[in-house]
């Protein structure tokens, strides 16, 4: 098991403070730009030293702030595929692979390079320089180079991996993979566990479906793709008719009875744009902007409320002036009590 507990203050505005573990298989580290994903990956790889904390790879300590243990990157047993261009431009792909295997004796080095070339299907391109091959081949070569030292953990930092490359990697590498990025689809498709990172902290972790369907915090909901996020109060609770009325200032919603809550409690409500149902001939929502998308139309209402309609459905409503946006109760997610100082919804 790999476990990471690190803290590093970068500025007054940003401190990375993360605590999570990486099980065998693929773990996705998902967060927006500036969340601290790259910094966290570089800390695990040993390229940046945390100020405090402890990092264990396969239960071996590679960093311990208190005991002043900080192993060099090459001794940690991590493979790292960066989001930056890392293949040396003046060397061929084979020479790039050989560079990563320099610490091995000559015969072993040749064996590893040959295996990497075969596994990652690079035979046709090994004598070419990175600028002369396609981006997909470069990425494959970067992954092969990261794995050539038989690491215990592969770190892929927003490197642009797709499912096909992940499958290729997993066919030859059965240990842990930590995949950082913003692509929730890839995270859901490939990862057994998702760790959501926002503003330097882990906001939620769990199985992808669990994280997507039941975000625990407003930040997690934002990261999980809930475009509509409002903070409101419980206006009334009625167990007899199984109804709770939520007041969000400009509008109110009725949802099933919420046990364990009291009138006046503050709650967050979240719903995906695709789960809303804009219809015609009513007043509550004022349409502000229409954004055309390949398969759908995104409607932005005052509020702010964001809705999404299939193109065909929108065509019949294009001339509509009065909109009513429905929030189906089974799609609406209520995210506990809004603590004082909790982040405001995205506007």
């Amino acid at each position: 098991m790999t476990s990471v507990r690190v803290r590093k203050r970068i500025s007054d505005a940003f401190t990375l403070d993360a605590d999570f573990s990486v099980a065998p298989g693929v773990t996705a580290l998902v967060g927006p730009a500036g969340a601290g994903k790259t910094l966290l990956m570089e800390m695990i790889a040993g390229l940046v030293a945390p100020q405090e904390g402890r990092i264990l790879l396969d239960d071996a300590i590679v960093f311990d702030g208190q005991a002043r243990v900080n192993l060099a990157p090459a001794r940690r047993g991590c493979g790292y595929v960066s989001q930056l261009e890392t293949l040396f431009p003046h060397r061929t792909l084979r020479q790039n692979l050989e560079f990563a295997a320099l610490r091995f004796p000559r015969l072993e080095r040749h064996r590893r390079v040959a295996e990497a070339v075969e596994h990652f299907e690079l035979a046709d391109a090994v004598s070419l320089r990175p600028a002369d091959v396609t981006p997909a081949l470069r990425l494959r070569c970067a992954a092969a180079r990261a794995l050539i030292g038989s690491p215990r953990l592969l770190l892929a930092d927003d490197a642009g991996f797709d499912s096909a490359l992940l499958d290729l990697i997993r066919a030859h590498f059965q240990k842990s993979i930590l995949l950082a990025g913003r692509d929730l689809d890839l995270a859901c498709a490939a990862a057994a566990e998702v760790v959501l990172l926002d503003a330097g902290g882990v906001v939620q972790r769990g199985a992808p479906r669990q994280v997507l369907e039941h975000p625990a915090t407003p930040a997690a909901a934002r990261l999980a793709g809930y475009e509509n996020l409002w903070q409101g109060t419980i206006a009334s609770l009625d167990r007899a008719v199984n109804a709770t009325r939520l007041d969000f200032g400009g509008f109110a919603l009725t949802v099933p009875y919420l046990p364990g809550h009291l009138r006046g409690d503050r709650v967050w409500a979240a719903i995906r744009a695709a789960d809303t149902a804009p219809t015609a001939n009513a007043v509550p929502a004022q349409l502000v902007r229409v954004v055309e998308r390949p398969q759908s139309v995104r409607l932005e209402f005052a509020g702010p409320i964001v809705a999404e309609l299939p193109r065909g459905q929108f065509a019949g409503l294009a001339e509509c002036r009065n909109w009513l946006v429905e929030f189906p109760a089974d799609s609406l997610r209520l995210i506990g009590m809004g603590a004082a100082g909790s982040p405001a919804p995205r506007t």
Partner: protein
């Protein structure tokens, strides 16, 4: 009356030696200094790069041997080259250096296999820059001693101009795309 040409040969010998020694001496310390910003080092090298060391040495020692003139020339050219190389090494893409660290490559290996090949033109340009500077300083020294006739002076000036042109060409090459950048 035939002109005395020994000042030209002597100046060429000193300038060439200074350039070669600068090329040998500056890159490795520059690589070591490139890891951090050292304001004091920049101040000192900036100051030394402006000192006409050969002229001052000739003024201080009337019978200055050519080896000493070359050593004095290094006082000016090495710091200049050091700063240029340091800047070039600092501009190496961080991704390459991270990849080298992940591979466990030692400092000297990264220097030889990565920094020098990728920034070779800048290193050469910085070393070549010392050639015309030293030539001109030597010309001034001979002129001050009244040993420089018009013809050798013209030859020295032309050679210095050629050296400056070479240095400029190398600088342009260094600023060019170099190894084909990954699109």
């Amino acid at each position: 009356m035939t002109a005395e040409w020994s000042p030209l040969w002597l100046s060429l010998r000193v300038a060439l030696l200074v350039s070669v020694l600068t090329l040998a001496a500056a890159p490795w310390p520059a690589w070591l200094l490139a890891r951090r910003n050292w304001p004091a080092v920049s101040l000192i090298t900036g100051f030394l790069a402006m000192v006409p060391a050969v002229i001052l040495a000739a003024l201080a020692i009337p019978s200055l041997p050519w080896q000493a003139a070359a050593a004095a020339g290094l006082v000016r050219t090495v710091p200049h080259s050091l700063e240029a190389c340091r800047g070039a090494f600092q501009s190496l893409p961080p991704g390459y250096l991270k990849a080298a660290r992940m591979a466990g490559a030692a400092d000297w290996r990264v220097f030889w296999t990565l920094a020098l090949p990728l920034r070779g033109w800048t290193v050469l340009a910085a070393a070549a820059n010392g050639f015309p500077e030293t030539l001109l300083e030597m010309a001034v020294v001979f002129w001050m001693r009244g040993r420089l006739a018009a013809a050798p002076a013209g030859a020295i000036l032309l050679t210095a101009l050629a050296g400056a042109a070479l240095s400029l060409w190398l600088k342009r090459a260094a600023a060019g795309p170099g190894w084909k950048a990954v699109p």
